[in-house]
Symmetry: C2
DNA sequence: TTGTAGGCGTTATCAC
DNA sequence: GTGATAACGCCTACAA
């Protein structure tokens, strides 16, 4: 026994005016008598009118809604980015439809489809697909979109991402400056631009210090805390010789630290650990890491999209955010 | 130069049929010739038709969208709940509009308003308001809703929450069994049902063990990691005598642990720590804690709402989820 | 200053 | 089996 929503028609009848007088009153349009307006608003209030945005979206051909498609919602990195998006969205009277695609290709495609059906005005996406062509194919709608936290070479898309080459470089250089030479790099399998850049930064720092790059201490694992834990346990048991670990992200670093602690290895004395992202718990664990301005990433991403949605820019925007080393107690 | 979306009208014209033959084809309705259907679908595909859900929502009077209103999106507790909601939502072909109300009364009100304007079919909310009357007032719309992770005495609403009395009891009893008697309780200021239940559980365990309840070692702080850190530092410096800490949640426990470590206090030998929620990082930190089935909380919440939205139930549903003690190395 | 009419894209009803 | 038509609720020309 759900009550029907009140419509402007109901208000019009109650106020004895036409429906568009009501519309004018509700939308603060000019060309309306102050008293009429007052009366209409009062009646609307009394009847408990709630505007139907669905209907106005249809009429206006815009939904004031953006779609947010994330690879992995459980990673605090994305949550902090989301926070930035959410803030900007709210400030500009937009809403946000969220979909987690769990690093799954099919879900990514489906998510984009759903966003299109919902007629979102724009999309913010951290894509799973790495190949330009494939991504282009699924994104072949006329919805403006901005890629978050990733970069596609040669692809003419709007993007905002971090300077990961610099990040990898800073992290590695920091370990070298602390006297470390056998630096394990715990990278992720998924060879996208991000992991490649961090790897390049790592290599750059080693070269600069004239340390030979040893591919045997570079590991590609799943982006998962337990996999990191297991991998470090494994190399420890295999007797691999190393003096520090640079991890693709903080989550992997947590796993690594857990393994080291279990084996009674002293951090940073015996093994140093550097993470990446600086998610909120890293300050508690006192993890040295590379900080990406996550809130800003989300916040700015919305604004790039906003300008596109409102045709304020034509050319592509590519923003590379600066990163910084946060020194804590694991190094 | 945004291309217009293709409509069923366009398809009708191209296929030389009427618009509702198109509609029948697209929606798998009976009463359509197999060949006609095939032709129509082919043309729809060719033209790149994307259904306008906005329009069908208007027509059908349902949006297949739910609103999710969270107190605080940065708390991993909610992220895990969200994950459960997201999963159930996807499985049932619903979408989800998310709003973070940042523990703010005004935002809570506004969020509900926006959800109503968007004509969501239902709302999942972790409310900020604690008084039944006030909450009722803002929720006085005819949208079905389910309260997540909280309970209002005497209020006839659908709810799903954890057995926090048991949780508080288990945590405290565990510390007592480990020989601790001076158990600091780091609770949150915000006196809602959840914090009160955990406090009751704490008191129940103490009474059972015939330990005098000492209000001087029960603290109400802001639900914030740094506040927990500062509070523990403060009581340590004041020379307060205690042998363990039970924290309202894991985040507070992280702050407490950081303070203890900084002061060179051994955990668990000198001071034991128990948290609450069992968020993902707690297993890394090896924090003893009370586990709430978070994913399940979200997943089931959707299903309660689903049944309400589809009028499958009339009476109120109240689900109390069981909790369990997870023993790790801080006790 | 106010009202009438038509349309946004879809679906349901009713003829044919 | 298929098509014309109206309706969902709102907004915008245009007319009065």
């Amino acid at each position: 026994m759900k009550k029907r929503y009140i419509t402007i028609k109901d208000i019009a009848k109650a106020a004895n005016v036409s429906i568009n007088t009501v519309s004018r009153a509700l939308n603060n349009k000019p060309d309306i008598n102050a008293k009429t307006k007052e009366k209409v608003l009062k009646i609307a209030e009394e009847l408990g009118y709630v505007k139907n945005i669905t209907a106005s979206s249809l009429r206006n051909r815009k939904s004031k809604t953006i779609g947010v498609i994330f690879k992995d919602i459980t990673n605090p990195f994305f949550v902090e980015v989301l926070k930035g998006i959410e803030k900007a969205t709210k400030e500009n009277d937009y809403s946000l439809i969220l979909m987690d695609i769990e690093k799954d290709y099919e879900l990514e495609k489906k998510a984009i489809q759903i966003m299109a059906e919902k007629r979102v005005d724009g999309i913010l996406i951290s894509p799973v697909r790495k190949e330009k062509k494939k991504f282009n194919k699924i994104m072949n709608l006329n919805i403006p979109y901005v890629i978050i936290g990733d970069h596609f070479e040669e692809m003419n898309a709007d993007e905002i991402y971090a300077n990961d080459l610099k990040g990898g470089y800073l992290a590695t250089k920091h370990l070298i400056e602390r006297g470390r030479k056998k630096i394990v790099f715990l990278n992720v399998k998924n060879h996208n631009f991000v992991s490649q850049s961090r790897l390049q930064g790592y290599k750059k720092a080693l070269k600069e210090a004239k340390i030979r790059i040893n591919n045997k201490i570079i590991f590609d694992i799943k982006e998962d805390v337990n996999d990191a834990y297991k991998k470090i346990l494994e190399i420890l048991e295999n007797g691999l010789s190393f003096d520090s670990i640079f991890c693709f992200n903080d989550i992997l670093a947590y796993g690594a630290i857990k393994a080291l602690r279990e084996k009674g290895i002293e951090i940073p004395k015996e093994i140093m650990v550097v993470g990446y992202d600086d998610i909120i718990y890293s300050s508690i664990i006192d993890l040295t890491t590379i900080r990406i301005p996550k809130f800003e990433l989300g916040y700015k991403a919305f604004h790039i999209l906003f300008d596109k949605m409102n045709h304020k820019v034509n050319k592509r925007t590519k923003i590379v955010l600066d990163v910084e080393l946060i020194e804590r107690k694991t190094t």
